[in-house]
């Protein structure tokens, strides 16, 4: 499936090669240090007291009992926050500690430091908080219609945004509509939130080792809350055990620093799994109405939509998630006319923010269900209706923005249709009962199991939007043939540490690359999110390497009397294309250090106007998914048998890494389709554990078949698009479409529950 015009005989360790992770051996041997593994002499443990109520007024906090617990060294509340009392990525509306009102179950109220985790637990138990329990706002529609009193001084609506484009009077002739819902998904990274804070002597500063997605943004928010200058707060990336969006917001960072500064001792904090479910933001639950108007031949004429994103108690990135959702309402299809209304609102549910796919997962679930309805309404195959509407480079989005990115939507669909279907019939040739829905012993009668096939296609924006000056920084030094690369890019498992080395080797012609510590001693890299680091930090490393290479070429040119413009890198040599001169890079960089820093900025974007018009996004990537499922319609059980995908990646810089991103992304999409949901009842969380929040295991995960479309992206520094999010975006609707195909029911909500299948 890959474009064979691209070079395939790449050198080991260089761009295009499936280079192995530099941290791989440490990770398989257990010697890689995750943030939760970090400790220090004289270290204390920190822990957090959290609200048991979704909405309550705090009448009194009495911490005196905590001080009586043996081993307790600090007890802090809002009164101990020296700087700004609130934080947040976009709006600073979330208190470091609640002092007057608690707005979600799990909101921090106090923190303690003690010499043993169990002493912390007892100290938290000994803190007395008196509440006046209030009726929580849990229905987001009541925030939209204004029928609920504001639960926060900033009101119950984070953002409302419309998109109005083209002819608003178009109706039909074919009309399909539906209302769709998505539950709250948790990122469920394995490495729980953890940090180690080490105070400077005299308490004038602090060093925080933390698992995060964006060191510099964390530092900005932490420093503000500590009342310190940014440079007094130094952040070092602690080993990150997965992220998926949940580490973009502050969780324990400020608390850990406060406890360390208060005790003048190093402090470790580590969340439990239960606490992690409450202590980070989640994927927004969303309710979407969509109505599509089309011609009899299936071509879209107008899309109408209404989105309500439940942002929970605090803003986090809700306003950006909203814009991502509504601006992707048309999907990867041509559509000239649109009427979209969107709200992101505040409730007393758990706060929501970033998760892989960031608003587009929600939009895609709705528009893909609609495309299947449209196919039925006009009597077309689900693929044909998508092919007829497929977006191309140069088409306009409903925001008026022209899609300048490579947009091989038709090619994705055609190549997906040609992917092999599962070779095994229902139940498998070997009749292994593990192959049946629900596994061995669950499915009553194999003869009842029905197989279904579903399709979905997606468009996902890459990088940040709406005027944000998004950039990443890298510093590269070259001496004696060794390149040292420094960046603040959070390695969360995605493999940027592998890619950075590949870039340096390719551009500089070196074999030996040293990666410096990832910390705030270099400029910001921006967040490891929005499928942006290959493009942004890849661009920064590439840019810094090119500057260094230029300096090296100048030196070679001077020493050998040749034109620097004639010099290129071949293998590990500097080669003059005019004279044939060849100099090893180790020789060309002997006894000197070239040291360059480069900031890569993507092109500017714009805010949306009041009609939702504007060039708000940077670039786009596309993906197509086909799911095959076996369903037991009597017991409501689903076995996802296979997910096939073809993805628009620009250029495969590391095919093995891409496979990992695609398979892992599909796992999270399958999870949302059939099992993953944080269940809240009146604001109370019912399943904050791995026993009750179901994640795909080895047995749940289908076979994955992958095709890559490599059409290098002209805008991208390395021709490569980000690959992390698209696998999650359209795999969910493909699985649900397959279940619909199997049983003939509408299934308008994810995750699809057994009761939806049996009684829906």
């Amino acid at each position: 499936m890959t474009d064979t015009a691209l070079p395939t005989d790449v050198r080991p360790g260089r761009l295009g090669h499936s280079t192995l992770r530099p941290d791989g051996v440490a990770k398989v041997q257990g010697t890689f240090q995750f943030s939760g593994d970090l400790t220090a002499d004289g270290v204390l443990w920190g822990a957090t007291l959290r609200s048991p109520h979704p909405y309550a007024r705090i009448l009194r906090i009495d911490v005196s009992g905590a001080w009586k617990i043996n081993g307790v060294e600090a007890v802090i509340t809002a009164a101990d926050v020296p700087g700004v009392m609130t934080y947040g990525l976009i709006d600073q509306d979330q208190p470091v500690f609640a002092s007057d009102v608690v707005r979600f179950v799990g909101e921090p109220i106090a923190a303690v430091a003690a010499n043993h985790p169990d002493a912390c637990r007892r100290a938290l138990d000994a803190i007395v908080v008196e509440y006046e329990v209030l009726e929580p706002l849990t229905d987001p529609e009541k925030a939209v219609d204004g029928s609920f009193e504001p639960i926060h001084p900033l009101g119950n609506v984070f953002r409302q945004q419309r998109i109005v484009r083209g002819d608003q009077t178009i109706e039909g002739p074919i009309v399909v509509e539906g209302t769709y819902e998505l539950g709250m998904q948790d990122q469920a990274f394995l490495g729980l939130e953890a940090a180690l804070a080490v105070p400077d002597a005299g308490g004038t500063g602090v060093e925080l080792h933390v698992a995060t997605q964006w060191l510099h943004e964390d530092r900005k928010q932490i420093a503000a809350c500590l009342g310190m200058a940014d440079e007094k707060v130094r952040l070092v990336l602690g080993g990150v055990g997965g992220a998926f969006g949940a580490r973009e917001d502050i969780s324990l960072q400020v608390h850990t620093c406060l406890l360390a500064l208060r005790t003048s001792r190093p402090v470790r904090m580590a969340y439990s799994r239960h606490e992690s479910f409450l202590g980070h933001v989640h994927r927004h639950p969303c309710r979407i109405f969509m109505r599509h108007h089309a011609d009899h031949d299936g071509r879209l004429r107008r899309v109408e939509a209404r989105f309500v994103f439940d942002g929970g108690a605090y803003a986090s990135t809700s306003s950006a998630v909203l814009v991502n959702g509504i601006t992707h309402a048309q999907g990867p299809y041509k559509c000239e006319n649109a009427t979209v209304d969107g709200w992101a609102v505040r409730t007393n549910n758990l706060p929501c923010g970033a998760m892989r796919g960031f608003g587009v997962v929600q939009a895609c679930f709705a528009h893909e269900a609609q495309m299947d309805k449209l196919a039925v309404a006009v009597g077309l195959d689900p693929l044909e209706v998508r092919l007829r509407n497929a977006m191309e480079t140069g088409d306009r989005l409903i925001t008026g923005q022209v899609v300048e990115s490579v947009a091989p939507v038709q090619r994705l669909i055609r190549e997906l249709a040609a992917m092999p279907l599962p070779g095994e019939p229902v139940g498998g040739h070997d009749r292994d009962p593990m192959r049946l829905p629900g596994g061995a012993g669950r499915t009553a009668d194999v003869g009842n199991v029905r197989r279904g096939i579903g399709w979905a296609v997606s468009i996902k924006n890459l990088m940040y939007s709406e005027g944000f000056d998004d950039y990443s920084t890298a510093r590269v030094r070259l001496a004696d043939g060794v390149a040292t690369v420094k960046f603040a890019t959070a390695e969360v498992g995605q493999g940027f540490v592998t890619l950075a080395g590949q870039i340096a080797r390719s551009v500089l012609g070196v074999d030996n690359v040293v990666l410096d510590q990832i910390d705030t001693q270099v400029g910001s890299a921006g967040s490891t999110s929005a499928s942006r680091q290959t493009w942004m930090s890849g661009g920064a490393v590439d840019g810094a390497c090119r500057l260094v290479r230029e300096r090296m070429f100048e030196r070679v040119a001077l020493l050998h009397g040749v034109d620097p413009l004639g010099l290129v890198i071949e293998g590990t040599e500097v080669v003059d294309t005019v004279s044939g001169l060849r100099v090893e890079v180790s020789e060309a960089s002997a006894g000197i250090e070239f040291d360059e820093t480069f900031e890569h900025h993507h092109r500017p974007t714009e805010d949306l106007d009041e009609f939702g018009q504007g060039n708000c996004h940077t670039a786009f990537a596309f993906a197509a998914h086909r799911a095959v499922v076996d369903v037991d319609p009597e017991l409501g059980l689903v076995k996802v048998v296979q997910v096939a995908t073809v993805q628009d990646i620009g250029r495969a810089l590391n095919p093995l890494s891409i496979t990992g991103q695609i398979e892992g992304g599909i796992a999270q999409g399958v999870g949302l389709a059939v099992m993953e949901e944080i269940i809240q009842v009146n604001g109370h969380v019912k399943n904050a554990s791995f026993t009750d929040y179901l994640l795909p295991t080895f047995l749940d995960m289908p076979d994955v078949v992958i095709g890559l479309v490599e059409e290098p992206e002209p805008q991208a520094p390395l021709g490569a698009k980000g690959v992390g999010e698209p696998p999650t975006v359209s795999s969910t609707p493909a699985v649900v479409a397959a279940i619909r195909d199997a049983i003939g029911k509408d299934l308008t909500r994810v995750p699809v529950r057994p009761t939806d299948i049996v009684f829906g």
Binding site: S18, L20, R21, D23, G24, V25, K27, V28, Q29, G30, T31, F32, Q33, G36, D37, N70, G71, N115, H116, P117, D118, Q187, F189, L190, G191, L192, G239, G241, G242, F244, S272, R273, D432, M434, R435, G493, Q494, G495, L656, S657, T659, G660, I662, E663, G664, G665, I666, A667, Q668, S689, F690, T691, L695, P696, T697, F698, L699, M701, D703, V704
Partner: protein, 163 residues
């Protein structure tokens, strides 16, 4: 935390005897391995035996160390990820995980390495479904499991070829 009920006991970990002093009796094997013996390779991610990140061998049996009381493991032979192979000289399973791309964030990896060694010990040539069933107590959130299955199969093939 020195309080009544605390005690001294000896654990046999990776072929060595280690005294655990002043420990609270309620500490899990995972906590004692990590915080008292400094063996940070075993990871805690759920504290209730659902994710397998803390997997170790106790008298050759694969267990979740978060569910075992450390004081209850006295007199038994405990093997952790640190005892699988010398640092810098990975076992065949460990190397296969690296080579097959089975590692992303790596947090689940030590537990999966323990589970895979245990599986291949008991069943040298597992079918794909056997691999899925046997490793289903270990959750990975990054990889979608495909490269891990590939790694296990590579080891099985290589070991067969070596015989």
């Amino acid at each position: 935390m020195t309080e009544p009920g605390n005690l001294i006991y000896t654990l046999h970990v990776n072929g060595q005897s280690s005294d655990v002093r002043d420990a609270w009796i309620g500490e899990s094997l995972l906590y004692v391995l990590r915080e008292r013996l400094g063996l940070m390779g075993s990871k805690g991610a759920c504290e209730q035996g659902e994710c397998g990140s803390c997997s170790v061998l106790v008298d050759g049996e694969l267990v979740c160390s978060c569910l075992v009381l450390a004081a209850g493991a006295v007199g038994q032979q405990i093997t952790t990820i640190e005892g699988v192979a010398p640092a810098g000289a990975p076992s065949d399973v460990q190397q296969a995980f690296v080579d097959a791309g089975a590692v992303q964030c790596g947090f689940c990896t030590p537990g999966l390495i323990m589970a895979t060694h245990s599986l291949l010990e008991r069943s040298p040539e597992p079918t794909e479904y056997e691999i899925r069933e046997e490793l289903s107590g270990n959750i990975c959130r990054c990889t979608g499991y495909g490269r891990i299955i590939e790694a296990v199969q590579r080891v099985a093939v290589a070991r067969r070829g070596a015989q």
